[in-house]
């Protein structure tokens, strides 16, 4: 590989006005998406302040302190409104629309803060009760009936849930779930970041990568200069540079979208004190079942892991597109086929018999890996909750991609060029 040539190959994609235009359009759309959904960003500061005042971990001691401070605030509120109260909730429930003007703007801000704090306190007090009520055997059976899995597949799933229940106990022992985070069922921040925002990033990056890879790989054939290029001393070895350039371009495009989108996201939403909180935090509980990771992961580590998954998938998709382009040689057909391949991989487990382990094996693919990002590294993610799911998929598909690339390079060496 010649780094100079690789760079020149990259420039073919990076200087293409359409690609640059799309890149900017996509990033602008992501920024719009984030800003458009940020109306509650000020409320989120409460969680940060809780960590600041009472530490990241929720212990009986810190919770007591929190409760006392809240009582002090409540007394202040009682002075403002001039009546006895047991909670802010009681006050807000008994409020008429007309009463709104009785209190000043700053009073309302105080009341609002108090309401939020009370909500967090209530949630913190409920943690133990809610977690002891979780019966993983029942969850396993529910998953099995819901997904209509039977036979061998059901056995595999039950085994994995048994494994997971050990981890679940360990997590409760470590009290990983007792750490402050944004209230999940109020703001759905996990879902917003890892589902909505990341889904956009992934689809956008994927489209750009398929297009840029096809462009770089087929450039000479499309522009009818292949007879000159592949007749030079470098000749067909140029293909290796093109592979390098495709992957490099994929990395650059992904980095651009990720960096801009995520930096906007974290400027809009304040995570300052929460990076160390566990992803399995009870506050991160959004739907029927809390998020429980297979490992003790903090939010920061989880985000890093997810970013790594995105990079791996994107680079592998670039490699796969390269291999297919060399074999098919028609840019248009290749792009369409890659798009179909991505969606088809999502559907394939659904076509498998529900009684066989094929259901899971076919699920170990890049599309599911990358679309399953909100539940990555987690045991609480339905059918693909396996502990080895992420790294197995990554390793298997890296091998497949490398084999396909080597094969296509070999094949290209002997191909008729005319």
């Amino acid at each position: 590989m010649d780094i100079r040539i690789v760079w020149h190959e990259c420039k073919k994609a990076l200087l293409s006005p359409i690609l640059v235009g799309l890149l900017l359009l996509f990033t602008a759309f992501n920024i719009f998406l984030i800003v458009n959904n940020s109306y509650f960003k000020d409320e989120l500061k409460v969680a940060n302040r809780l960590v600041e005042n009472y530490g990241r971990e929720i212990t009986d001691l810190s919770l007591n302190q929190f409760e006392k401070d809240l009582q002090v605030d409540l007394v202040k509120l009682e002075k403002i409104i001039g009546q006895e109260l047991s909670s802010v909730h009681e006050f807000l429930d008994g409020l008429n629309y007309e009463d709104h003007e009785l209190y000043s703007e700053s009073d309302w801000q105080f009341i609002e803060q108090l309401r939020l704090k009370e909500m967090y306190l209530g949630m913190a007090n409920e943690i133990d009760g809610k977690y002891t009520r979780i019966d993983l055997k029942k969850v396993a059976e529910e998953t099995i009936t819901q997904t209509k899995v039977s036979g061998n597949a059901a056995k595999t799933l039950r085994n994995e849930y048994e494994e997971f229940s050990k981890r679940f106990e360990e997590m409760k022992q470590n009290e990983e779930h007792k750490e402050w985070f944004f209230a999940g069922n109020a703001y759905f921040m996990h879902k917003f970041l890892f589902k909505t925002v990341f889904l956009h990033i992934i689809i956008e990056a994927l489209m750009l990568i398929i297009l840029s890879t096809v462009l770089i790989t087929n450039y000479e054939f499309e522009n009818r200069t292949h007879l000159v290029t592949y007749g030079t001393p470098r000749g067909r070895r140029l293909m290796k540079d093109k592979l390098g350039a495709s992957v490099l371009t994929a990395a650059l495009l992904t980095t651009f979208i990720l960096v801009i989108t995520l930096s906007i996201y974290f400027t809009v939403f304040d995570y300052t004190n929460l990076w160390g909180s566990s992803i399995s935090s009870a506050f991160n509980w959004e739907y029927n079942f809390p998020h429980v990771a297979w490992w003790d992961l903090s939010i920061g580590f989880f985000l890093a892991g997810v970013v790594v998954i995105v990079y791996i998938t994107m680079l592998l998709f670039s490699g796969l597109t390269f291999a297919l382009t060399t074999l098919v040689k028609n840019s248009y057909v290749t792009s369409i086929l890659m798009a179909i391949f991505f969606v088809l991989a999502l559907l394939i487990p659904g076509f498998m018999p529900t009684s066989s382990n094929l259901l899971f094996i076919t699920g170990y693919n890049l599309s599911i890996l990358v679309m399953n990002i909100p539940a990555s590294f987690m045991g609480s993610s339905g059918l693909f909750m396996f502990k080895n799911f992420e790294w197995m998929t990554a390793v298997c598909w890296t091998i497949i991609t490398i084999v396909l690339c080597v094969f296509s390079l070999k094949w290209f060496n002997k191909m008729d060029i005319h």
């Binding site: 293409s16 359409i18 799309l22 297009l211 499309e222 522009n223 009818r224 840019s331 248009y332 792009s335």
Partner: protein
Amino acid sequence: MRILWNELKKILTWKMMFLLVLVNSVVFFLRIEFYIEYFPNGSGIYSYDIGVEMIDKYGTQMDDEEFLDFKEVYDLQVKEADQYLQPLKGFVDAGIDSYEKFNTYDWGSSSEEVYQLRNNVYHEDKVDTFWELQERERLIEFYEMKEVLPGFDNAKQEKRYKELIAAEKYGVYPSVAIENFREFITNVAIAILFSVVLVISPMILRDRSRQLLALQYTSKKGRNLYKTKILAGLVATFIVITSLLTVYFSIYSLNKTSMYFDIGMNTFIGNESWYDPTFYQYIWLTVAAIYVVGFVFGLLAMSFSSIVPNTMALIGIQIPFIIGMLIFGMRPLIKYFILIWNPQWLAPTAYNTMVVVSVLFINYLWKREKKRDIVS
């Protein structure tokens, strides 16, 4: 004519047909199959059955007299439910010996056992009577509320709503069939949009990048060939849309909704519209809308195909238009395009603008093509 035929063969190649089938199968399994296989979905079956019964008995509209009959059927069924409950010891012990008590019972604070019994009624025994009763209650409520005005965004909506009430076009028939059709047709529109763009996009670029233009434009037919290509593209668009619609509608016929075809749009619950086509006419309206969308995107694809330098740009430039249509266009222009919750002018204006813009664009490109320096 011969040239047109040959151009058409260049567009509809076997390779393209194969891709077309592949794309449509993916969209079908991802978005459409669900609305065929699971119709009526869950308790929707009761809604569907009662709807069919209403059409059989009362025709396409229900008047007050017929409503009394409907209530009679309801009362009969309540008696049936009473008879079912009375011998059940668990219920009687809890003081639930009639359907009325069953219905008004405070389930929120009931004991675990009684709650379990109730679950059994609905889920284990699958007592159809209870599900049907729920649905009938819902329909009765809608009938009784038929003249109550909901909140409106603007005065025009309110005026139309009052007009409908004055004309006694009340939304009282179950809407499972039409809701299902709406989901189905929107996804069909998506599949057809993809298909048209897929088939049409490469046609003009292909000749250009193979440097055939120098040969083509110096022949006897000359630059007029461009027009023939456009015509061939339009014919291909028509063939693609028509054949896909035929396939998808034959699949749709499995849903067996033809009993509902004579009911007016406004007679379905929650379907107040600016116009009053029957369900059957509404189907044809959406088909027309799909043709317009298909032709517009076909023309746009040809236009882009005439100006972009390479395949990457050809796909890249169309991505924002297609995604824009999917995100912002599908709901107001296909899914809900005659409902009063969309402004009345929106769909016609949008369609007209789209047609005008795409025709003007291709016209401009033809003018350009006549004078263009094809050597450089």
